[in-house]
Amino acid sequence: MNEFQEKLVHFTWPEPKKSYDVVIVGGGGHGLAAAYYLATRHGITNVAVLERNYIGGGNSGRNTTIIRANYGIPEAVRFYQHSLELYQTLEAETGRWIMHQEKGILWMAHSEIGMQQQKARAAINRAFGAKTEFLTPEEILKVCPEIDLTGGGVWPVVGGSYNTEAATARHDRVNWALAEGAMMRGVHVHQKTAVTGLLMEGNRVTGVQTDKGPISAGIVMSAVGGHVTSLAAMAGLRLPIRTHPLQAFVTNHYARTFHPIVASTNLLFYVSQTARGEMLMGAEIDPQPSYNYRSDHHFLQSCAFRATTLLPFLRDLRVLRQWTGVCDMSPDYSPIMGKTSVDGFYITTGWGTWGFKAIPASGEQMAQLIATGETPEMIAPFALSRFAEDRLMADRGSAGTH
């Protein structure tokens, strides 16, 4: 698919009703995907998505759009591989060009221990369905000739893992495709509608209070990014979430020849080229939690320094734009999906710095949970209850952002 075959998106903006079967708080990718899959897979369309600003204006429109499945534990590899495959067919399914482009992600190792990690990663990926191989420096150079294998003399590349199916997609278009697909089937999306409280009856959530009046609901699902702790607190629920800013930036346009996505275990950055030819870079989260969207020079300097160490050609480029999103970090850097101890209140959160790639799978699985009332097997390990059970997921290293 491409831009020449495209028609304008059909958005419809009806007035809010007094009551819905399902109310989804948060009109980012995760909320819109849940609505989309409720409508397409389960025929549930008496659904409202409430967004306090505009759809895709939070982290769904601020991330670096990397879709990959090279995680470190079986549950995560299976989940993210499923999501990656849903992305591969999303254009055909929605009839919308999301600019999905398969690029492959190279994850560099610079030491003996880093090499062992990447070998283990490739092995566990293959065992659970993701296509990841271990590459030697010479093979890396074939995939990405721009890399300085000496790492500026300080961080020599001794090998790396290569998740061949990794891809990028245009984040706004993903949000719009899902929103349109849901709306076409009768789902309501209400922008500029802030949730200010939850309606409760005992231990059950029965609806939401918004700045446009109360809306009752059979099930309320939080797909909030950034401020999920505040929403959960309205239901008397405490979450293991710390909200940290994550910054990213793009350079001016470079000839569109840089094909893969490149990341590094030690240098902690990830870079890819956008469809416009900009080099898009991100790194780790800010060390202290904050809800502030301000970008800073320290991040720019530090990330640029590390990126140019491995990719010297970046030195000739200029920084065009820099921005910030606020990320819900969970203690084990894994998402939290499913039911909560409050009846009628489901959450999909803890999407920290890895949420974009999971949009279709999270939406699909949460939709199944809402439709059937049963937690799907695929997301059961990601339940909120794992913290009380001291059963954390040992996969912090796969995030690449700390």
Partner: protein, 92 residues
């Protein structure tokens, strides 16, 4: 950039410091603390959008651990001070 006023060294760039987490007192009576309460203490956070009381460590300075009150929406630091065991906190 966040400016922090170290009680020893005065106002410095936050890059000199290490953030130590939101103020989260340890359960005072371990033997009487249930598993659920321990899990809450270890994992759950208030994660406040507003003025938060939090720990900082002057890593590249005097090595002091101290408390700060910072607005997490604006990153403005209201005040910094040394921790003192308040009478009401013992057995809290």
């Amino acid at each position: 950039m966040i400016l922090l006023n170290c009680p020893n060294c005065g106002q410095r760039n936050s890059l000199e410091f290490r953030y130590g987490g939101e103020y989260n007192p340890r359960p005072a009576k371990p033997l009487e603390t249930s598993d659920a309460q321990w899990a809450d203490y270890i994992y759950m956070r208030t994660n406040k959008s507003g003025v938060q009381k939090e720990w900082w460590y002057h890593r590249a300075g005097c090595g002091l651990w101290f408390l700060a009150e910072r607005d997490t929406r604006s990153n403005e630091v209201m005040q910094t001070y040394l921790w003192e065991p308040a009478a009401k906190e013992v057995g809290d």
